[in-house]
């Protein structure tokens, strides 16, 4: 049998790529999962990331990257089905449960995640974290939002500006 030369990994095993975090940790992951990132997809289509090369991601540290890949691996099968119109309700419920738990993390990790999702152009992840952040903000006063997201205490100048803005938008406050 003359298997075509292209598509290295067509014989059962999925093609793997290597990603290198900013602190030089190497992650080996299925190309299908990494391709959830629009940015990586282009490189991978060009044949990058295979063998010993690896794709360096100087913007993403290893803790964040492992979290990002956890998301990608979970979502890759559904994405491969093209939005999965034939996915069962059970599958969808399972993904939803995963998503809810996945973003149940500290705000500083959420920040790293949304930045990574943005840089790597993983739309689903960016939207998931954005929704989580929005849920954390809903119904809160500006000071409560600042505390929730770990802002330092406002300087007197900042406080004055906040007060002025809140006064102007007084209707938005109970």
């Amino acid at each position: 049998m003359a298997a075509p030369e292209s598509g290295d990994g067509n014989n059962g095993a999925a093609r793997m790529v290597t990603l290198i975090s900013s602190d030089n940790t190497r992650f080996e992951v299925e190309a299908a999962a990494a391709s959830l990132s629009q940015t990586l997809q282009l490189t991978i289509l060009d044949g990058g990331g295979g063998g010993g090369d690896g794709i360096p991601l100087p913007n993403v540290d290893s803790a964040t990257l492992s979290k990002v890949l956890e998301y990608c691996i979970k979502h890759a099968p559904a994405a491969a089905n093209g939005g999965a119109p034939n996915a069962t309700a059970v599958d969808r419920a399972e993904l939803e449960r995963f998503d809810n738990e996945f973003v149940n993390i500290d705000q500083s990790v959420l920040y790293s995640l949304i930045m990574a999702a943005h840089n790597l152009e993983i739309e689903g992840l960016q939207s998931l974290v954005a929704k989580k952040v929005a849920d954390m903000i809903k119904g809160k006063s500006p000071m409560e939002i600042r505390r929730t997201l770990g802002f330092p205490d406002p300087t007197p100048e900042e406080q004055a500006e906040m007060n002025a803005h809140m006064l102007e938008y007084g209707w938005a406050y109970e």
Partner: protein, 455 residues
Amino acid sequence: MDSGAGTSADHIEQAPLPVRVRKGAKSNRPRSPPAAAQTRCSTKCAPASETQKPDEAQDPQHRPWEDLPVDILGVVVGRLPLVEDRARLRSVCRAWRAAARLYRRPPPPLPLLVLSDFSFASFCAKGTLSGVRRHVPLPERETASAGSIRCVGSFEGWLVGVEFNKGRYFGDLRCFLMKAFSRDVLRLPPPSAARPFDAYSWSLPVVNGSGVMNFNAGPCVMSFCKVVLSTSPDSGSKCVAVGISIIKSAAKLAFWQSGMKWWCVCDGDCITELVDIAFCQGKLYMLSNNEFTTDLFAFEISEDNNGLMVSRVEGAVVELPEVADNIYQTWSMVEWRGKLLIVATYSGDTEFGFMIFQVRVFEGDLSTNPVGFTEVQNLDGDCIFISPCSSKSFRLCHNDGAQEDLIYFVHGNLCPEKFVYNVKNGMMKRLAAVGSEDKFWAADGMNAAWLFPTE
């Protein structure tokens, strides 16, 4: 050496550490201008530069969320369906305030329900309404004679207010457009005024119908119960306002366009009992009952030297299907994707008492007489908001406060009622409000208008 104890903060600043703009910012130093956030965020992916060093995250003065790229912040805002949450988010810090002007427009927030006294309710989680506690602030000049101002219409973020003259029978004293939550006010001519003798007038026969419409700019005494606008007053194109005035059961229609000093009043024997008015594709549509029939009139609006001019009026009989057990029905008109929809509600005695038991939505084909109607079975994901003073179709995207293909009703014609109707499955459920419901109907009559604030 970089490990010297007692190193001052300034020294650290000079150490070869990562060079994010905010890295060295001290709390006592003025913050760098928000424009910095703008330039940074436009970089979509910059793998080689701007490495985030781990020690940066530990810097207590580092404010990662404040530096959130503008377009990410825009995505977060798009996930906040309530206009109040968006305003509170802008209060958080200067960078976020500045960003609000830069990110791609997020999906519009959910509307507010403004009652006739300008108090308003907003959506809470799970599609219920908040209690009515807050007021849309009124401009000082318009509240000089406080207490008699009421809201009679809306268009997007604008509200229409009138001041009425103790008894309604004497007509409204003033009329104004106001951009809610801003200080923009546009004054319209007084609805009741003696006017100059050289006022012109004209008549038009109703095409395809019988009767004549008379237009004049003579003296008038009007009290508006609903005012619709053709476009937003700040849209740049000419804004036409049309009001329904009813005094002692005598109905009039009044037209105004930017620049006109007077309302152009339309009456005629065909205007007997006005049901509703709406703009669609630039024409004004009016539903009117008379003794025997219900008619739909289309007014074509053009311009001449005197200002606004109605150049053609076409009429057609409306025959909607009968519904069994119907005792009382209401019709509302709304433009949906360039089409004119009539939303009909049917009320009668049910096992739960007298109430609306059916809703049907029809698309009118105005090229035939009687008007041809096709029943609409889905809104293609859109929602429709109906209230006595304003109705609008609306695309709700990414807003988890509401679902698709729903019609939100606030009706006060017979008995006050708020409910949500699902066009696809025919389900109807009450639109619950948190807290006391009294306030919804305490104000003058049942008038209410959905307001679609722009940010």
